[in-house]
Subunit: 347 residues, 2 copies
DNA sequence: CTGAAAGCGCTAACAT
DNA sequence: ATGTTAGCGCTTTCAG
């Protein structure tokens, strides 16, 4: 079943005009007489005429839609970003098509190609935790598709990027753990391929250094799927807790790592923060309701989405090729709650 | 900046063929000789030809995209549903365009009209908590746009619908609270306009009746925005707790109501379940990690999305107008955790 | 001020 | 087996 829309032709026929006159009248062209305009406008209104965006797209060679690639939308951080993206996109007359990689390089590849073939005008990308090879994005970028990276950005493609000061966020978090008396702070990290992982681990080192704590590689564990799979967190934690130098605090570099780490402690009846402290990046809204309430580094997700979208639309609508690209860095915020409470206070 | 795609014309020119021959070769038509096909296919592959979906849409008068209206994507229940929708949509070659009402009728209206004007092939709708007037959907439906309602369905439009057995879920939940010794079970409900609210409150009554508890209207409070705004939950709870007959248990009918109710108790230092029990509809993944862990009625969100999408695609692709519509009812599941523990046990 | 015609990329009669 | 043409809805020269 199809639902037939009114076209310009219908209006032309009904009014005894040509389609071009109707088209011009609708766009308020100076060449059309006021009377004709009025006639056309009123009739169009009456029969509820809406221009066919597909025909427009074909003509203008643009679809007024932008693609988004994220790992998961059922993740507060990304759904907040998407809210930010939509708020700007709708304002500017674009709609968004969302695709999820589920942290799989293969799915990212398929999605990117799918979106590109759907003739999107631009792409907002946060790469999957498996992504090393950037050829799929590089070739599109080289062919002129505007791309803006956010959160998980990549070095090898020169375009606009939006991220937070991961180094600072991680350094503050780690420094806080150190300042509250923790001596063996482990890092539960995302995939090593990701920019955010490198930056956050660098911040972690800095935080340790600030308090004169040594950096110990055995205290750093990577989760290739960013904690999306509980088992990988479980394994990483099992390893951490079974070594001779047992950590007394965990710094987790991503949302799912943080919550799954807490899940792990619950399952093992390990008390937080009495037995071990926990602090991680997270944008969930329920941190205060958790037991214990979670200390987190929170990112301005909505703003990330807004900024990235503004940059992308600028690229799309720029008359001439853009050469000057910028990387916008927003500020994360540290929220101290129970899970990282002072060691000395509790006992 | 624009990124120019390869067209059928380019191939035709390069190979000295006509566009129709190329078109037919690409679609593996029987009228084309194997050699020509091979030639075309290989060349198309080589220059990475992708058909322009916009041109196809214009020709076929279909966009292969479906619109989704939900209140919020940053809500586990809906993001899980969207995952289900996408899983089927992508399989069937459709992409999805998501719009959020944020529980506002006005935004729903704008979004519906926007989506309709973007020539979507069909619409998946869960109405906003403010929606009473259905004219915007009715007129589209009357004009032949396939629509499937999910979760928050409406009576007055005859089409496919997908929901869960809200009556049963609510009855079981309430009966559980009654069975564990609670005598004054209050209902913290969503907007009264919603089908799910009516069904869940009917189930609530049934649960009370099963245990010989009276239905008391003063124990039922509505939140017009479904708990999206904390203050409305706060006010409803303030009212409930200030009346002479103070509830000893809360049954909440929606995700945000449940978590915001818990937030309220935390803020007031009211112990759950010792001072008051809590049980509500919720699809968040962190219920076990909350303090106390939350007893919930969980809905098969992913499946709801899948079923709804299958039904919608059936409608879209049906050759003749569909008259026989169905309402699929899936089963919710009750998970008992700490927040609704037996009154007599704790003290 | 208005109309006729071409063209965006593609498909499908209708030739040949 | 392949080419020609028209048309999807719209805009935009180019002619009056």
């Amino acid at each position: 079943m199809k639902f037939e829309a009114v076209t310009i032709k219908d209006i032309a026929k009904a009014l005894g005009l040509s389609t071009s006159t109707v088209s011009r009248a609708l766009r308020d062209s100076y060449e059309i007489s006021p009377e004709t305009k009025k006639l056309v406008l009123e009739y169009a209104e009456k029969i509820n005429y809406r221009p066919n965006p597909i025909a427009l797209s074909l003509k203008e060679k643009r679809s007024r839609s932008i693609g988004i690639i994220v790992c998961e939308i059922a993740n507060s951080f990304f759904s907040q970003i998407i809210n930010g993206i939509e708020s700007i996109a709708y304002d500017k007359g674009y709609n968004v098509i969302i695709a999820q990689s589920h942290e799989s390089y293969d799915r990212e590849l398929i999605n990117v190609q799918y979106l590109a073939s759907r003739s999107i005008d631009g792409l907002l990308v946060s790469v999957s935790s498996e992504t090393k090879d950037l050829e799929h994005l590089q070739s599109l970028h080289a062919r002129g598709l505007p791309i803006v990276f956010f959160d998980r950005i990549v070095e090898d493609i020169d375009t606009h990027k939006v991220t937070v000061d991961n180094f600072k966020g991680a350094a503050e978090a780690t420094a806080h753990l150190a300042a509250t008396g923790h001596k063996h702070i482990a890092a539960l990290a995302n995939s090593e391929y990701l920019s955010i992982t490198r930056e956050r681990l660098a911040g972690y080192k800095e935080g340790l250094a600030q308090h004169g704590l040594p950096y110990d590689e055995s205290l750093v564990k990577y989760c290739p799927h960013g904690g999306l799979i509980y088992e990988e967190v479980e394994q990483a934690m099992d390893e951490l807790l079974s070594q001779k130098k047992k950590p007394d605090a965990i710094f987790a570099t991503a949302d799912k790592l943080t919550t799954n780490c807490l899940r792990y402690f619950k399952a093992r009846n390990i008390r937080v923060p009495e037995d071990i402290a926990l602090l991680g990046f997270s944008n969930i809204d329920l941190t205060e309701l958790l037991s214990p309430s979670l200390s987190v580094v929170r990112q301005p997700a909505f703003e990330i989405g807004q900024v990235a979208t503004n940059l992308l639309v600028d690229l799309i609508e720029s008359k001439r090729p853009v050469k000057d690209f910028e990387t916008q860095v927003l500020q994360p915020h540290l929220f101290i709650r129970e899970s990282s409470l002072k060691k000395t206070k509790k006992k």
